[in-house]
C-alpha cells in the first residue's frame, strides 16, 4: 500500500514495533513504562529519587489491584465501568464506618465486600440475562451508585480511616518499600490462582473466546460471566478501601478516574476487547505504563491544555501499537 520510498522505512519500523508488542504485550508494556520513566528523568532529573520511585510503585500497585477484576471481566467478554464508582463508594463507607478507629475495620470490610458483590451481581445479571451492552449498562449502574453515595452522604462524606490501617498501606519498610506491597503478596497470587489454576479461570477463558462452544461443553456461560463481575466488584471495593487508606479522608467520586484508567491498563497489558485473551501479568505492566504516563505529564509541569492534548495523543499511539481490530478482509 505504501509504495513511497520515504514512507517504507517508517511503516516497516512501525510494523516491527507493533509485531513485537503483539507477540509479548507484557514485555512491551514494561519497556514502554520504563521508557516513559527514563524520558521523565531525562527531562526532570528531580523525578529520580527513592521517594518518587516508592510513590510510583505504590500507585502502580493500587491501579493493578483495581484492574484485576477488570481483566477478568474483559477476558470473559464483558466490560466493567463501575470500577471507579464502587471504589469511591467503598472509600466513603470505610471512612464513615471506621471514623478513625481500627477496631471497626472488619465491619467496614464486610460492608464493602457486600456492596462490591451486589453491584457486580447486578452488572452480571443485566449484561447476561437481560442482554444489555456491557458498556452502557455498567455505566448506568455506576451512575446510580454514585448518585446514591451523594444521597447518603449529603455531598460531604464524614470520618477518616483508622491510623493502624492507614499505616498498613502507606508505611515504608526500609524507607522505600510501601506497605501496600504486603497486600500485593496476598492479592497477586490470589488473582493468578483464580485466572490460571482454578476451574473458574479456565472456564472464563473459554467463555470469552467462544461462548457457544463453552455452552456446548456444559459450562453455564451466564453464571461464569456473573461471577467475573462479582469478583471485579469485590476487588474494586477492596481497592477503594486501600486507596482511602492512602489518602486518609474520602470525598464523592474520588476514584472515578479509575474506571477508564483500569480499562486502558488492561488493554495495554494485551487483553483484547473481544474476550478470551489476556494475562494479569500484562495488566500489572499496563498499570505501570499508565502510572508512568501520568507521572511524566505531571513532572514535565506542562500547562493543563498541553497536558491533555499530549495524554490524548500518547494514548492513541499506545492503542495503535496494541489493540487494533482485525480488518474485514482477513
Amino acid at each position: 500500500m505504501h509504495n513511497s520510498a520515504v514512507l517504507r522505512p517508517i511503516t516497516n519500523l512501525f510494523g516491527k514495533v507493533s509485531g513485537f508488542a503483539n507477540r509479548n504485550p507484557t514485555r512491551m508494556a514494561i519497556i514502554l513504562g520504563l521508557g516513559l520513566y527514563a524520558f521523565t528523568v531525562f527531562q526532570v532529573p528531580g523525578a529520580f529519587s527513592v521517594q518518587a520511585i516508592s510513590t510510583l510503585f505504590m500507585m502502580t500497585l493500587l491501579l493493578s489491584f483495581a484492574s484485576a477484576g477488570q481483566t477478568m471481566v474483559l477476558i470473559g467478554g464483558g466490560m466493567d465501568f463501575t470500577v471507579g464508582a464502587v471504589m469511591s463508594v467503598a472509600a466513603m463507607i470505610t471512612t464513615s464506618i471506621m471514623r478513625g478507629e481500627d477496631g471497626r475495620f472488619l465491619q467496614a470490610f464486610a460492608v464493602c465486600m457486600l456492596l462490591g458483590a451486589a453491584v457486580g451481581f447486578i452488572n452480571g445479571v443485566c449484561t447476561t440475562k437481560v442482554g444489555l451492552p456491557a458498556l452502557v449498562v455498567t455505566l448506568a449502574i455506576g451512575n446510580v451508585v454514585t448518585r446514591m453515595s451523594y444521597l447518603v452522604t449529603a455531598g460531604t462524606p464524614v470520618g477518616r480511616v483508622g491510623p493502624a490501617f492507614a499505616s498498613s498501606v502507606i508505611y515504608r519498610h526500609f524507607g522505600f518499600i510501601p506497605s501496600l506491597a504486603l497486600y500485593a503478596l496476598i492479592l497477586f497470587p490470589l488473582v493468578f490462582y483464580i485466572l490460571y489454576r482454578s476451574r473458574f479461570g479456565r472456564q472464563l477463558y473459554l467463555v470469552g473466546n467462544n461462548p457457544e462452544a463453552a455452552r456446548l461443553c456444559g459450562i453455564n456461560v451466564n453464571k461464569i460471566k456473573t461471577i467475573s463481575y462479582m469478583i471485579s466488584g469485590m476487588l474494586s471495593a477492596f481497592t477503594g478501601m486501600l486507596g482511602v487508606g492512602m489518602l486518609q479522608a474520602s470525598r464523592n467520586q474520588m476514584f472515578d478516574a479509575y474506571a477508564y484508567q483500569s480499562l486502558i491498563a488492561v488493554v495495554v497489558g494485551g487483553t483484547s476487547f473481544a474476550g478470551g485473551v489476556g494475562t494479569y501479568g500484562g495488566t500489572i505492566a499496563g498499570s505501570m505504563v499508565m502510572v508512568m504516563l501520568n507521572n511524566m505529564l505531571t513532572a514535565l509541569n506542562l500547562s493543563q491544555r498541553v497536558r491533555e492534548i499530549t495524554l490524548g495523543l500518547v494514548l492513541v499511539l499506545i492503542l495503535v501499537m496494541y489493540n487494533r481490530r482485525k480488518g474485514v478482509r482477513q
Binding site: 452502557v136 446510580v144 455531598g155 497536558r307 495524554l311 492513541v316 487494533r324
Partner: protein, 349 residues
C-alpha cells in the same frame, strides 16, 4: 378497524416501538405532573424545545454512528468545540455570526473525520479512541478559548428562543433541517448500506460495499449534525465555554440505546428522537414531582441529590425495559421474514 390493527402490528415490529412506549409514558407523566395547561402553553413548549434541542440533535448524530456499527463518546466535548470556534472566530476575526457558525460546523466535521481515521482506518477500539479524542479536543478547546467568555449578537439568540407565529418554537427549524437531511440520505444508497455495514461489515464487504467508506460518510454526517447542535447550544447560552457538555457523550449513547438502537445495524432516527425525549421528560418529571411533593408535604426538604438519584435510576430501569422488548421485536421480525421468504422447514439462523 382491521386496517388499524394491521398498521399497529407493523409499527410494533419497528425498532422505534419500545422508545415510543417509553417516551409516551414519560411524556404523560410530565404532562400530569406539570399540569396540561402549563405544559402546553406556547412559552413552556418553546423553552422545552430550545433548551433540549442540542441534546436531541446529538442523540440523532450518535444514532447515525450506531447504525454504521461504531460510536463516538467525544461527541459531547465536540459541542463545546463548535461553541468556542464559533464564538472566537466572531470575536477575534470579526466575522459575522453566520460565517463563524460555518467555521464551527467545519471544526466538528474535521474532528469527526480524525476520529474516523482512528476507528475505521487504523481500527482502534471505538470506546478508547473516543476517550483519547476527548482529551485532545478538550486541550484544543482551551487553546482556542482559555476561559469562558464571548457573546452572541442579540438578534440571533433572541430569534432562537422566539416563537414563530406566536406558538411554534423557532428552535424546531434546526430539527427540521436535520430531519430533512436525513430524509434525503435515506433515499440514497447510503441509507441502506449503513445498515449492512453496521450489522455485519464482512458480509457488506463481500456484497461490494466498502465499510470504511460508508463509515466515513456516517462520521461526516455525524460531524454536520454535531455542528448544527453546537450552533443551537451557542445560541441557547449566548456565550462560550470550552469545557461544557462533556458528559453528553455517554448520555447520548444511553439515550440512543433506550430509544431502541443496538450496537450496529439496528434502529432508526425515530429511536433517537424518542430516546432523547424520554431522558428529557424524565428529568423534567422528577423535577416537577419533587416540587409537587414539597407542596403536599410541608417541611419536606428535597436536595438535588434526590433529583439526580431518581432520574438516573429511572434511566437505568428504562434501559432494562428496552432491551427486553427489542428482543421480542427481533423475534417477531424474524418470524415474519421466515413466513414471507422461507420454505416450510427452513429458518433464518
Amino acid at each position: 378497524m382491521a386496517q388499524v390493527r394491521e398498521s399497529f402490528s407493523r409499527f410494533r415490529r419497528t425498532p422505534a416501538f419500545t422508545g415510543f412506549v417509553l417516551f409516551t409514558f414519560a411524556l404523560t407523566l410530565n404532562v400530569i405532573l406539570q399540569g396540561p395547561a402549563n405544559f402546553f402553553s406556547p412559552n413552556s413548549l418553546g423553552i422545552l424545545f430550545s433548551s433540549n434541542m442540542p441534546f436531541l440533535i446529538i442523540v440523532i448524530a450518535q444514532g447515525v454512528l450506531l447504525m454504521s456499527g461504531t460510536m463516538d463518546i467525544s461527541i459531547g466535548i465536540q459541542l463545546a468545540l463548535v461553541n468556542v470556534v464559533t464564538i472566537m472566530t466572531v470575536q477575534e476575526w470579526g466575522l459575522s455570526f453566520v460565517m463563524g457558525s460555518l467555521f464551527g460546523v467545519a471544526a466538528a466535521i474535521v474532528a469527526s473525520v480524525v476520529l474516523w481515521v482512528l476507528i475505521s482506518v487504523i481500527r482502534l477500539p471505538d470506546l478508547l479512541a473516543g476517550f483519547a479524542m476527548t482529551y485532545v479536543i478538550r486541550g484544543v478547546n482551551v487553546f482556542i478559548m482559555n476561559i469562558p467568555q464571548g457573546t452572541v449578537a442579540r438578534p440571533f439568540w433572541q430569534a432562537y428562543s422566539s416563537l414563530l407565529l406566536g406558538f411554534i418554537p423557532a428552535s424546531i427549524i434546526a430539527l427540521a433541517v436535520v430531519l430533512a437531511i436525513w430524509a434525503y440520505l435515506k433515499r440514497t444508497p447510503f441509507g441502506t448500506h449503513v445498515y449492512a455495514v453496521g450489522a455485519n461489515p464482512q458480509n457488506a464487504f463481500a456484497a461490494g460495499i466498502s465499510p470504511v467508506k460508508v463509515q466515513l460518510q456516517a462520521f461526516m454526517i455525524k460531524g454536520l449534525f454535531t455542528g448544527i447542535a453546537g450552533i443551537c447550544l451557542t445560541l441557547m447560552t449566548a456565550s462560550g465555554n470550552p469545557l461544557q457538555a462533556e458528559d453528553w457523550g455517554l448520555r447520548s449513547l444511553a439515550a440512543a440505546i433506550i430509544g431502541g438502537f443496538t450496537f450496529g445495524g439496528w434502529g432508526t432516527i425515530a429511536c433517537a428522537v424518542f430516546g432523547a425525549g424520554f431522558l428529557v421528560m424524565i428529568q423534567n418529571s422528577v423535577y416537577f414531582l419533587f416540587n409537587w411533593l414539597a407542596n403536599v408535604i410541608p417541611g419536606l426538604m428535597v436536595t438535588s441529590f434526590w433529583h439526580n438519584f431518581i432520574a438516573d435510576s429511572i434511566i437505568f430501569l428504562g434501559l432494562l425495559t428496552t432491551i427486553i422488548t427489542v428482543r421480542g421485536q427481533r423475534e417477531a421480525l424474524r418470524i415474519n421474514l421466515e413466513k414471507k421468504y422461507m420454505k416450510r422447514g427452513e429458518s433464518i439462523a
